[in-house]
Structures are given as C-alpha cells and as structure tokens.
C-alpha cells in the first residue's frame, strides 16, 4: 500500500452563518488522482483550498506528508512550497514574462540562483509545450497557454501534490484540450493530484477515484467506473443525468 500524502479529518468551514463544509474526511495516497465532482457551490473549491490552507478550516485537521498544517505555529509558507496549485483564473503574475513567472518561486522562495532558476523554468515550459513563449507576458498569451504556464510555475517547485481548482472552467472550449492533455500526462508520470473539474471525460479517463460532493459533505466515493456506470446515490444519479449529453 502506497504512502498517504494528504489526510483531511472532520474539515468544517463556515462563513458567518453559512456552513460551506460540514465535516469532510478524505485521504489521498501517493500517485493517486482524485477528482472532486459536484454541483456548483457545494464547497469543492473551498475544500481544495483547505488542503494548502489558503482557506483556513473552522474545524478539523489537515495533514500533508505527516505534518498537521492546522497545528499552531506551523510554517505554512514552507509547507506550501511543495503543494502546487492551479487556479481557475490562472493568476499568472501579470508583470512577469512567462519564464519569470515560473522562475520567481525558485529564486524568491527556494533561493535558487537566477541562472539555474531560468534554466529550470525553461525546461518546465518546454514540458508543457511552451518552449517558444518564454519571453511573452501573460497579456500576450491565450487562456490555454496561460494555464499551462501556471502549471509549469507550480511544477517548478517540485510539488508532491498538485491541486487543480477548475483549471479549464475559464477557457474557451477549443483551448480546454491542451490543458487537459498536460494534466493527463502529469497523472501518467505519477503525480499525486486533486482536481476540481466539470470535465467528465477527463474525470473518467484519468481519475483513480471520484469524490462526489454536495451541500458541503461527501455524498459518494468510488472508482470512475463504479461512479459513472453504477452511481449508488440518487443525488449522484441526478447530477450525472445533467451531463448525459457528454456521454455517447
């Protein structure tokens, strides 16, 4: 049995009166690809952000690689160095060229020498198929290219886990494929991944496990085949029904 990398225990998150997460337990093992599915506004993104503590849970514990990130006096910056995150809105650093977007974490966070960082950044951008866009600014890239730079930026930090927060939701339909392709390649290379997405084909093809959430709780969990072919709960069936058009 492979090593457990992420363990969430009893995660709750409230904003004022509204409870977005109502007690979530989740464990992710090394090289596992977990896809979080569910209707909008059910706390998937919030849960993902709890893993690297961009959102601090109101209750519960987050363990990454054996370290409790919710414990007091944890150096959260240090912990985040190896938790790559990709955002729906890309969030590339707008004032930096593609190559510097990837290199800045190396130089300013890990203290790598600039020349080495640029070398590494170039390699990462080539890996996502952008070796010819090194000197372009985010404003000069298409959405799909931006998102691939964002993936390269996260990969440059040698993450143990990659967290994807609806990485293709802000993309034009014709640009989605190039991003999913990079993600699939990553999964095949053994990267541990947690993805929030609405791309059902991707989920079915790439995920090892589907976690279906609704109303701040996990409703159903299982292998992609189990989940898509024989959903156990009525709510999952209803949810999948809305995507029927996507399946042949």
């Amino acid at each position: 049995m492979s090593k457990e990398i992420i363990r969430l225990e009893g995660i709750k998150k409230s904003y004022g009166q509204s409870e977005v997460l109502k007690g979530i337990d989740l464990s992710v093992k090394e090289s596992e690809v977990v896809v979080l599915l569910g209707p909008s506004g059910t706390g998937k993104s919030t849960l993902l952000r709890c893993i690297n503590m961009l959102t601090v849970p109101t209750e519960g514990h987050v363990w990454v690689d054996g370290q409790d990130l919710t414990a007091p006096k944890v150096n959260i910056n240090k912990a985040r160095e190896h938790l790559g995150m990709v955002f729906q809105e890309f969030n590339l650093f707008a004032h930096l060229k593609a190559i510097d977007n990837v290199a800045i974490g190396l130089t300013k966070v890990l203290g790598v020498k600039r020349a080495d960082a640029l070398e590494r950044a170039k390699k990462e951008l080539e890996r996502v198929g952008l070796g010819d866009k090194l000197d372009l600014y985010p404003g000069q890239l298409s959405g799909g290219q931006k998102q691939r730079v964002a993936i390269a930026r996260a990969l440059a930090m040698d993450p143990e886990v990659m967290l994807f927060d609806e990485p293709t939701s802000a993309l034009d339909p014709e640009l989605i494929g190039e991003v999913l392709e990079v993600m699939q390649k990553l999964a095949q290379e053994g990267m541990t991944m947690v993805c929030v997405t609405h791309e059902m084909h991707f989920a079915r093809r790439v995920a090892n496990r589907i976690v279906f959430m609704e109303g701040g709780v996990i409703v159903e969990e299982g292998s992609p085949d189990e989940f898509f072919d024989h959903p156990k709960t009525e709510r999952a069936r209803q949810f999948l029904g809305k995507f029927n058009g996507q399946f042949d």
């Binding site: 690297n52 961009l54 910056n77 240090k78 912990a79 985040r80 160095e81 938790l83 790559g84 995150m85 955002f87 809105e89 890309f90 969030n91 590339l92 650093f93 707008a94 004032h95 800045i104 974490g105 300013k108 966070v109 890990l110 600014y137 985010p138 404003g139 000069q140 964002a150 930026r153 996260a154 930090m157």
Partner: protein, 220 residues
C-alpha cells in the same frame, strides 16, 4: 527703470531662474519623502489590521482638509521654533506631509486594483505576505499608480511656490523682490508662469516616458 515685455526673456526669466534650484529641490524632496512614507502607509492601510486602517483613514482625512499655507505656518512658527529646523526644511516637510496623504490615496487605489488572485497565487507557491507584496503586488501597483502620480508631482511643484511666505528664497520670493523694485507685477508674474509651465511640462513629459517604458501588456 523701464521694464517691458520684451525684457521678460533677456532679464526677468534669467533673474528668476536664480531660484529654480530651490524650487526644484524642495519639490523633489517633498515628493520623495511623500512617496516613501505614502507607499508605506498605503500598504499599512490595505493590509494592516482594523485599528491601523482607521488610523490611516483619519490621518488622511485630517491632512487632506488642511490648506498648505496653514500647515506651512504651523510647522514653521510652532514646530520649527522648538526643534530648530531651517525654513527650507520646514517648507519641504509641510509639502511632504500633505503630498504624503495624497500619495497614500494614489497608492492605496493602485494596490487595491491589483487582482486578489495575484496575492493568492504568490502565497500558494510559498511566498510570505511581505515577499508577495514586494515582488508581486508592488511592481504592478506602482505601474498603475504612475499616471496619477504624475499629476501629484505637478501639484507639488506648483504648491512649492507657497514656501515663499515663510521666507524661503525660491522663484516666487525672487518675483516679490523684483516687483518691489520695478513695480511691474504683470510682466514678472508672466515670467513666473512661464517658468512653472516649463517645469511642470518637462516633469510630466519625462514621467510619461517612464510610464511608456515600464508598460507591460495587459497592466494599466
């Protein structure tokens, strides 16, 4: 002594330019002090706790409501008397204080205009908040602030003409001397206006060049 318009360029302007180094240096120091302190206060106002935010807002409201002349005289007659600073620095300091609150507002607006996702992405790769501000937020905010900052620079150069009331010898002070001598206020003030126009125009021109040079696609 006969003083006419054709002597504006041969006599008046050269004479008044004797004060330009003081005018420009007072403006420069006021702007720079205002920029450093204003930027710091702007970051405190945006990222500081609630108490800091309230303090900054109050500070800004008070000094924006204060006329330059009032602060100038207050600092010169009340504060300069007790801590012994020169007229030059009393004048510079009062301009700096008022400019500082305006610059704080300029920088605050610029910082707040940077998308929150930038901070999140910076934190997500392990940057501390301070590093994220320094390497990610500030470079973008400063670029966005530059057009408004250019206006503020012009404003401070013009406001520096007020320090003559506490006896600092700059362009306006020389103009007073010349008017007392020649009784030709119209010609003298035309010459003064010309000099200020050129100073402000040149400053704006240079800053617009800087703005273009630093421009990045998709920002500001």
């Amino acid at each position: 002594m006969q003083l006419t318009f054709d002597r504006i360029f041969t006599y008046l302007v050269p004479y008044l330019l004797g004060g330009i180094s003081v005018t420009l240096s007072v403006s420069f120091f006021a702007l720079m002090i205002g920029a450093v302190v204003g930027l710091l206060l702007a970051f405190l106002r945006v990222y500081g706790g609630r108490v800091v935010q309230i303090l900054m807002t109050a500070f800004s409201a008070v000094f924006r409501a204060l006329p330059h002349t009032v602060l100038l005289l207050l600092i010169y007659f009340v504060i300069a008397g007790s801590i012994n600073i020169s007229k030059y620095w009393a004048g510079t300091l009062s301009l700096a204080i008022i400019s500082c609150v305006y610059q704080m507002e300029i920088f605050r607006a610029a910082i707040e205009s940077v998308d929150y996702g930038q901070m999140m992405a910076a934190r997500a790769i392990g940057m501390s908040q301070v590093k994220a501000i320094f390497y990610i937020i500030m470079p973008q905010a400063l670029r966005r602030a530059l057009p408004s900052w250019t206006n503020e620079a012009a404003g401070v150069i013009k406001a520096s003409s007020l320090v003559y009331i506490i006896g600092v010898v700059e362009i306006m002070r020389l103009a007073q001397y010349e008017i007392a001598r020649s009784r030709q206020p119209f010609a003298v003030y035309i010459a003064v206006a010309l000099i200020y126009f050129v100073c402000v125009w040149l400053t704006s021109f240079v800053l617009r060049k800087v703005e273009k040079r630093l421009a990045i696609p998709d920002i500001s």
